[in-house]
Amino acid sequence: MVLLMGIGGSAEAKTLVVRPQGPLASVREAIRQADAGDTIRIEAGVYGGNLRLEKPLTLEGVGKPLILGEGSGSVITVLADGCTIRGMVIERSGRVLVEEDSGILVKSSRNRIEENEIRDVLYGIYLYAAHDNLIRGNRIRGLAELEFGERGNGIHIWNSSGNRIIANTISHMRDGLYLQNASRSVIRENHAFHLRYGLHYMFSDDNVIEENRFFDNMVGAAIMYSRRIRLRRNIFFRNRGFSSYGLLFQDCDDCVIEGNLIADNAVGIFMEALRRSVFRRNLITTNDVAVYLFSSASENVFTENSFVRNVSLLRVIGRGTTTRWSWQGVGNYWDAYEGFDADGDGIGDVPFRLQDLFERLEGNHPRLRVYLSSAAAEALAFAEKAFPIIPGPQEWDPAPLRKPRALWPSDALEIERIPFSRWAFLAPMAMVGLSVGLFLWVGRR
């Protein structure tokens, strides 16, 4: 029994309604009955997977119906072009990494995958040689109980081009978004957290990455072996650990990194063999080390960025670099800059030096970091200032800005505010009370 309803004036396309109490109670059966271009409306309930879409269909969930996979293979496999999967809850894929066991495995083009909740799966959405798809507004949560290496990626894009990945929320997978040979992709407004890498990138050129948030990962975004990547207005926040980076580049060329907020990471920006790239108007704040720079990174430019409240600004590994810290007479804003601007053009008249002697030594001798903020480190820095005879590569900003020009206000980090706690207040108060009390008591005796 099939409910027939013409929609949108299209004479042939019909809508099939699936609901647990029937008459049509199986999504698989509905797919079998449907013709190309039909819509299957799935009402709230639990339905068996796995599903295969071999003709262009629309699966439209109403009230979050659950598609429960068989626990092996992918829960939904899309093989026909032009399918839509919307508003479903998708659970229980297989757990074999090499079989691409996913919530939704897409092997075709021009599909829309929207507003789904995908849980308890190895991979979330896997685009396998699939082009020009729209993946929007999905929530993907992985198998937190597995080690990072055993999990799949949230949205895995392989050998696919022209996909748009927008406003998805991804957590507890291996990598949030993994792109390999995925050119001309747009990645916008996604949130990726509690992952190994928020964004992991290989051999994918000409991509746009905008307004995403990568936080609480081992690495916010790792961009490797790619060219002409544009990163704008993203947030790389609180990626902390011994080898954690907010934004990592490895062997990339001609990238533009503009208007991002890179905050509270162990290392803000890590660059190895990044070439001819521009960092502009980013706010780089409260990182342990703002920029980690290998000698192999060449001809990059930093201009109009704000560097605020980082514990250390720069580590250079190897001999000097060809990175320029200003462009056409416009440098960056450094909160540690102490120079002056006599002619009032907004550019400091004294160059800003990014590292002192101790910090330069630290680049190639990381053990010296143990002496962080010790008097000895200060003394070395002071000695160099007083007797500037010690040679070595230097990093300068010849035109430091007097006012920040980053896209973000310098206090943009007021994201989290921990509520006031009475206990937090009582402990130090007791400290004062005890001290004063003891003082008076002994003094009186």
């Binding site: 902390r240 650990g241 011994f242 080898s243 954690s244 509270d264 162990a266 290392v267 409260t286 342990d288 080390v289 409240r309 514990v311 001798h365 990381p366 053990r367 010296l368 970091r369 143990v370 002496y371 962080l372 903020s373 010790s374 008097a375 000895a376 480190a377 003394a379 070395l380 310098s410 206090d411 980090l413 007021e414 989290e416 505010r417 921990i418 509520p419 006031f420 706690s421 206990w423 937090a424 207040f425 402990a427 130090p428 108060m429 007791a430 400290m431 004062v432 009370g433 005890l434 001290s435 004063v436 003891l438 003082f439 002994v442 003094g443 005796r445």
Partner: protein, 274 residues
Amino acid sequence: MGTIATLALFEMKVHIRNRWVLVFAFVFGFTAVAIAAFGLATAGVAGFQGFARTTASLLNLALYVIPLVSLMMGTMSFAGEKNAGELLFVQPIARESLVWGKLLGLMLSIAIATGSGFGLAGMIIAARVGSAGVTRYLLFVGHALLLALAFLALGILVAIASARKPRAFGYALFLWFFFVLFYDLLVIGLTFLVPEPIANRLVFLSLFGNPVDLVRVSGFMTLDNPTIFGAAGVMLVKFFGGEGWAHVALIVGTILWGILPAWLAQGLLRRQDI
């Protein structure tokens, strides 16, 4: 035990009466409160990082000031007061009790002086960043007190070991410079002369030769995370066999720096002809 308590109380009374404690409490409290207030006002960072950054400045204050004051007070308690000292020596008191009692009294005096400063600063921090790191803060104050213990013991040792008492203050001042500055510079220089793998081990072992280093490293690890030391942090944690063990080793090291000089001092004092 009773004798030590009595002596400790007597020692505290001396330092409270002669206003040492009061002056130090004011200076220290004022600085600590200023750091907490202005550090947070200009930082504008809420949450745990705000806490970590502000308390790191407090740690720095403690690392410079507490060794100096402790050394001076430790030295003064055996080299300063002429008549009070002689009065004590003629009492039927075991000389080792004298050292331990005075050490305890001095320690409590410094705890009083710094307690109000740390407490007020802690209240300001708590008001701004909430409950992020209350335990860490308390542990940090504990670190500061251990540092005081180590340098009080060193001060006492210097005072007892010096033949001429006024000279003891000179030695004490030298010790301060040595531990706060020269020691690290020496080790840093030395690490450039030896091969790389040895250099790393040398750095970590050298921490135990200097209570200031022990407290600085352990303090940073408490207030922030070992990750603040980057690659060196990984090596450090690995060297000690885990983050917990690193803490234990550094803290035990600091406590030993408090006990050993005091033990040497009482040994010297027992054999001394006064």
